[in-house]
């Protein structure tokens, strides 16, 4: 029983790290319709920044906040490249974000070298009902919960959130009612950068980060985000948790070498079941 709870809790924590990456993807796609393949990069930038700043002797807190802001700036710059030019289609923007991700490799290598880095986080672990979980994981779970509540409230309840959503739903119509679609898109990219930064700052103490860690991060994050149709944060969160729990459960119950297959396979199956309940017409209606 306590083993099961251990797997569950740790799985949820893993899911939360995935969800944080997904949150940025969802934010950006929901507003701009662009799948941002540079999302993992934001996390990497933040992770590397934290590690450097801490190394330079800046205190915790300051380092992390600065790193998150740096990621937000990276997000804004990515946005400028991806949607700054009028007439760029979402597909072109997607390729641009891929390009930005690759460009970032070069910048990161010049600034930080090619070797992985890490940063200290919350040390130790806690026991909950006989199940052990790292303290850093608890922080991750807490931050994720707050982030997603805020995100859901922001998009679902606030006027600005609705206006942002409107931009991707129908950019032309958004302009008709007077919304500055480009500015909103850049805001979304900055927000996405911020979210990616939070993910990076939280993940770096858990696993070493190097310039190309973004690939691993984005694959899982993309899976979760797509689960939520790239627009619905709460469903994406559910997807991420599913992914995380499936991985640890697979490892816990003897399929340690097939975690990837189990987790991704499960995602596909659930998506197909979801899809077969929607009709073509409703997906196409304008």
């Amino acid at each position: 029983m306590s083993a099961f709870l251990t797997y569950l809790l740790n799985g949820l924590a893993v899911g939360c790290t995935i969800a944080l990456i997904a949150s940025g993807l969802v934010t950006i796609h929901r507003v701009t319709g662009v799948v941002n393949f540079a999302q993992g990069t934001f996390a990497v930038v933040a992770g590397l920044c934290t590690s450097s700043l801490l190394g330079l002797g800046f205190p915790h807190g300051v380092s992390e906040v600065a790193a998150v802001l740096a990621a937000a700036l990276a997000g804004l710059l990515t946005g400028l490249a991806a949607i700054g030019r009028p007439g760029t289609t979402p597909l072109s923007s997607l390729i641009v974000t891929l390009g930005v991700g690759v460009l970032a490799y070069a910048v990161e290598i010049v600034l930080w070298g090619d070797q992985p880095r890490s940063a200290p986080g919350l040390a130790g672990s806690v026991e909950i009902l006989g199940a052990r979980i790292q303290t850093q994981y608890l922080l991750v779970i807490g931050v994720t919960a707050v982030t997603f509540v805020l995100l859901a409230l922001f998009f679902g309840r606030t006027y600005l959130g609705k206006a942002l959503t409107a931009c991707a739903s129908n950019p032309y119509a958004a302009r008709v009612v007077g919304i500055d679609v480009r500015k909103m898109g850049l805001l979304a990219f900055a927000l996405g950068g911020l979210l990616g930064g939070i993910a990076g700052v939280l993940v770096t103490p858990l696993r070493p980060i190097s310039f190309d860690t973004d690939v691993t991060l984005i694959v899982n994050g993309f899976a979760a985000a797509v689960f939520g149709a790239l627009t619905r944060p709460v469903i994406a969160l559910a997807g991420a948790l599913l992914l995380g729990v499936a991985e640890t459960m697979a490892a816990g119950y003897g399929y340690g070498s097939h975690q990837l297959e189990v987790a991704l396979g499960l995602m596909i199956v659930v998506m197909i079941v979801q899809a077969s309940r929607r009709t073509t017409l409703s997906q196409e209606s304008v």
Binding site: T279, T280, L281, V286
Partner: protein, 251 residues
């Protein structure tokens, strides 16, 4: 030819179409009118298979079709012109119309890849059919333009040409005259009359009651998903229920 019996469809508990029964005889032109949101387009989608029925039966040419997918119903001879223009992007007007003939031929990937003689023959025939259809709706001079750049009115005409190119037995027109000015409306009316003369069975949704009245043998009025009147146009126009629900003081 078309028999709709007790058909219902709801979305999240709200009935869009409720217990609708409707028979259309061969060669008949039947108008469907009703307030906005009455369920007219939904009924069309049920008939053509883009939506599945919750209850009820649909038969076409004596055959149950309510479980068939849309492309099978199309191949049996149903063609629909949607309310919203659905023009295929990245193709010329002629190519768009040629797609309409898809169900009439069956040269597949293999014969296309190998350029078998039959395939060439089909291609030529489809091309000619498309040109005829374009001529009919008055789009001949636009044939080589990219279709997605057409103004809305022409896009709708293009849809009609595409539907005709399939040589349907039953044509379902969802507000074909919307967005057309008087002159073009006139041309459309003439076309419908011609088609009717050719023996085509037509179901026509239209809010321009005068237009409907002039063209159809019979009018079915839907309100809140149900049939509230069914009969010759003159009779229906005088029906107090219809006046209250639909025509208002405007008529």
């Amino acid at each position: 030819m078309l028999e709709v019996t007790g058909v219902s469809r709801s979305f999240g508990g709200v009935y869009a179409v409720r217990e609708v029964s409707l028979n259309v005889a061969d060669g008949e032109v039947c108008g469907v009118i009703g307030p906005n949101g009455a369920g007219k387009s939904t009924l069309f989608n049920l008939i053509t298979g883009h939506l599945t029925v919750d209850h009820g039966q649909i038969s076409f040419l004596g055959r149950r079709v309510d479980r068939l997918p849309p492309h099978r119903r199309a191949r049996l001879g149903m063609s629909i012109v949607f309310q919203a223009a659905r023009v295929f992007h990245g193709m010329t007007v002629r190519e768009n119309v040629m797609v309409g003939a898809h169900g009439r031929t069956d040269a597949g990937f293999v014969s296309a890849a190998l350029r078998l003689p039959r395939h060439r023959h089909d291609e030529r025939e489809i091309g000619e059919a498309a040109d005829r259809a374009l001529e009919r709706v008055g789009l001949a001079e636009w044939a080589d333009r990219p279709a997605d750049r057409l103004p809305i009115g022409q896009q709708r005409a293009l849809q009609l040409a595409r539907a005709l190119c399939a040589r349907p037995r039953l044509l379902l027109l969802d507000e074909p005259a919307s967005g057309l000015r008087g002159e073009e409306r006139e041309r459309l009316a003439t076309l419908v009359e011609e088609l009717r003369a050719d023996g085509l069975t037509i179901l026509l949704i239209e809010h321009d009651v005068a237009f409907v009245t002039r063209l159809v043998d019979r009018v079915v009025v839907l309100d809140l998903g149900q049939v509230i009147a069914d009969g010759p146009p003159a009779e229906v126009r005088a029906d107090p229920l219809v006046l209250a629900a639909y025509l208002g003081q405007a008529s």
